[in-house]
Amino acid sequence: MLIIIDYGVGNLFSLSSSLKSLGVESKISDKKADILHADRVILPGVGAFEDAARKLRASGLDVPLYEVVNDGKPLLGICLGMQMLFDKSFEYGEHAGLGLIPGTVRAIEHDLQSVSLKIPHMGWNALRFTKPSPLFKYNKDSDYVYFVHSYYARDCAEDTLAYADYGIPLTAAVGKKNVFGTQFHPEKSGTAGLKILKAFSEL
């Protein structure tokens, strides 16, 4: 069973509905036992990094999450859930992430050269694949997916699967062994996004 981790952050309705539409059985849960018995896990998230990271730790659900990863089961972090996979974030200070993928999270504004581009990076942008991944086995290069974010992962070239052009290459998807992350929202990316969730459910 696929478990969507509920640690009090974000909108889980669409994610759950999109999996249902694919015929993938899933459950939203805040129970450690459910996560430990999951065959795969999604870590969602929207909002501020510090708040989300604190809630995840306070819920104690980070503990079974590490176990799931150590057991080799697939994990997918979405949006802020992806950002939390990294070592740390510089969103309003400096905050530790889960450290599952090497890299840091920085304000897009910090690196963006073009002043004509807006923050947040919001809307549909094209995926540019940097290496093949089973997560994208049903997708093609330049499929459009939906982004909403002001911070992005960097210093993670080795584990980057795809980026999107926005003045600078913004990390769009990462993968390291069984740990995956998408900065965009597959559950809000129409058919292209559903293909990614389907591929994840088959890993």
């Binding site: 909108n11 669409s14 909002g47 004509s116 923050i119 002001s150 052009d165 129409g190 996004g193």
Partner: protein, 254 residues
């Protein structure tokens, strides 16, 4: 290089569980089931959908959340919900039913602190400040309650205030051009979008494909075009519109 696309957004004004569209906010005509229409737009390539309860702020009615929930469970593109949003509780209510963004209009005029409060709780990306704007003695002024009540607020200043307090996006609806189908309000949109850095959605006045081409060419600060009746009555098809925009050099998700 920037590959972010401009967006085309059909707006479904919902009243009593049906999609309606008026001319200059009156003379309302019934269209179709919101859920069926939303599904149709999703399949036609709409980049996003907006659901507005057009009378909620006036008659203090709550949105029909079951319709929202049903639409959100079948459509996997971003969904913005507005109408009758007066407090954080209202954000909570529609987000739980599958909305991704919540649009505040009269509620923020009444209590401007709501913008910052909601942004803090749900993130800026979730807070859309929607404004109905009308020319008045050479200035652009904000109207409340579905465009019926003058507020004395200057639209440019209100937009800047909204951004500074955490709105993640602006919907600018021109009362002067709404329903008239003579093109978007380029002058108003230029005045407002040049003063903010958050995404701006243009609304009011779309009558044909050319109006969208003109909008995106004339106002680079506009990120999306929103329309209702021309899509509802199939005068313009979304896929046809997007293809034509792309042929005119405007980046689109096809």
């Amino acid at each position: 290089m920037n590959s972010l696309t401009k967006r085309i957004i059909p707006c479904l004004d919902v009243r009593d569980g049906r999609v309606v569209k008026g001319i200059n906010f009156s003379g309302i005509r019934d269209v179709e089931s919101p859920v069926e229409l939303a599904k149709f737009y999703n399949e036609s390539g709409a980049d996003e959908l907006v659901f507005y309860d057009i009378t909620a702020s006036f008659e203090e009615r709550k949105l029909f959340t079951d319709i929202l929930r049903q639409a959100a469970s079948e459509i996997f593109i971003p969904l913005t919900v507005g109408g009758g949003i007066n407090g954080v509780d209202d954000f909570d209510r529609v987000l739980k039913c599958g909305a991704d963004k919540v649009s505040v209009n009269s509620g923020a005029i009444k209590a401007p602190g709501l913008i910052a409060e909601a942004a803090q709780k749900y993130g800026n990306q979730c807070v859309v400040l929607s404004m109905d704007v009308k020319r008045e003695n050479g200035r652009f002024m904000v109207y409340a309650k579905g465009g019926r009540v003058p507020t004395g607020l200057d639209a440019v200043e209100w937009a800047v205030f909204g951004e500074r307090h955490g709105a993640g996006e602006l919907v600018v609806n021109s009362i002067d051009t709404d329903g008239v189908k003579d093109g978007f309000d380029i002058e108003m949109l230029t005045a407002i979008s040049s003063r903010v850095t958050i995404p701006v959605i243009a609304s009011g006045g779309a009558g044909c494909i050319r109006h969208f081409v003109d909008l995106f060419n004339a106002v680079p600060g506009v990120d999306a075009g929103l329309a209702a009746s021309i899509f509802h009555f199939k005068e313009v098809s979304i896929d046809g519109l997007k293809r034509e925009l792309k042929n005119n050099g405007i980046n689109m998700r096809i």
